[in-house]
C-alpha cells in the first residue's frame, strides 16, 4: 500500500496564445501551496517553475494542462501539451536558446531562460518530447528548506 499521505491534486488547462490568462495557474498554485502551509521559499520555487512551464505552453505549444499534486513529502508539477514538441531538447535546455518570434520578444519573452529556470528551481526535472507533445515532470521535496 502507498504509505504517502495524499493531500491535494488540481489540474489547470492552458490555452495556446492566451497571454492574458498566462500566470493564472501559477498564481493559483502559489495560493494552494501557501494554504497547505508549505515553506515560502519552496512555494516560490514551485511557483516560478509553474509559471515558466505555463507560459511556454501558451507561447510554444498548441495548449495543454498543468497538474499539481501534493503529498506529504513532495510537490509534483506535470506539464503536458499537445505539440508540436521540441526537436532538440539539449539545445532547448541551454540558457539563451529561444525560437520566440520578434513579436513575442518585444513582450519580453524569449530570453531562453524558462527551461533553465524550471530545472534550477526543481529538485527533480525530466523532460521528454515528440511531435505529439512535450511532457515536463518536476518534483520538489517538502521539508528540505527547513533542514
Amino acid at each position: 500500500m502507498d504509505d504517502r499521505f495524499f493531500v491535494h491534486r488540481e489540474e489547470y488547462p492552458i490555452t495556446a496564445g492566451d497571454f492574458s490568462a498566462a500566470g493564472d495557474a501559477s498564481a493559483r498554485i502559489k495560493y494552494v501551496l501557501r494554504k497547505l502551509g508549505i515553506d515560502s521559499a519552496l512555494v516560490r520555487r514551485a511557483a516560478i517553475a509553474a509559471y515558466e512551464s505555463e507560459i511556454n505552453m501558451v507561447i510554444h505549444s498548441a495548449g495543454g494542462t498543468l497538474t499539481l499534486t501534493v503529498d506529504r513529502d513532495t510537490i509534483r508539477l506535470l506539464a503536458r501539451d499537445r505539440g508540436p514538441g521540441i526537436p532538440d531538447i539539449d539545445l532547448a535546455m541551454q540558457e539563451g536558446y529561444s525560437t520566440a518570434t520578434e513579436a513575442i520578444r518585444e513582450l519580453g519573452f524569449g530570453a531562453g531562460m524558462g527551461l533553465p529556470n524550471m530545472r534550477r528551481c526543481s529538485d527533480r526535472f525530466t523532460i521528454r518530447s515528440s511531435p505529439g507533445g512535450t511532457v515536463i515532470d518536476m518534483e520538489f521535496t517538502i521539508g528540505k528548506e527547513s533542514g
Binding site: 497571454f19 492574458s20 498566462a22 515558466e52 507560459i55 513582450l107 519573452f109
Partner: protein, 108 residues
C-alpha cells in the same frame, strides 16, 4: 525605503490603489524570465514592459512595486489585476537609468 517616500519625489505617480510598503531591493530589466530568475521579494522592478505578464511575474515574486520607466503606462485591465494582487504600479517620468540612480541614492 517606503514606497510613499519615492512617490513624494517628482515624476513618480502611483497608478493603482494599493497600500504603502517597504522597498527592500531593486531589479531592472525587460526580459521576463530573466527577472523571474533573479527577482527577490520586496524588490522594485524597473521596466518598460507594460502587459499583464509583468503583473504575473511581480505578483509571484511579491515585488513591492513595478516602476514603469520613460512615462510608460499600463492598460486598465492590467492595473486592476495588479491591484487585486497587491502589486503597486508606478509610472515614472524618468528613464530606467535615472530611476535606478534615484532608488540607489534613497538607500535601496
Amino acid at each position: 525605503m517606503k514606497l510613499s517616500q519615492l512617490l513624494d519625489r517628482d515624476g513618480f505617480t502611483l497608478m493603482n490603489a494599493v497600500g504603502d510598503r517597504d522597498v527592500t531591493g531593486g531589479i531592472c530589466g525587460d526580459l521576463l524570465s530573466w527577472v523571474m530568475a533573479r527577482g527577490k521579494r520586496g524588490m522594485a522592478w524597473v521596466t518598460v514592459q507594460t502587459h499583464m505578464n509583468v503583473v504575473a511575474v511581480a505578483s509571484l515574486h511579491e515585488f513591492s512595486c513595478v516602476i514603469l520607466a520613460d512615462g510608460c503606462v499600463m492598460d486598465e485591465e492590467a492595473l486592476r489585476k495588479a491591484e487585486t494582487e497587491g502589486v503597486a504600479i508606478v509610472s515614472a517620468a524618468h528613464p530606467a537609468y535615472a530611476i535606478c540612480g534615484i532608488l540607489h541614492d534613497m538607500g535601496v
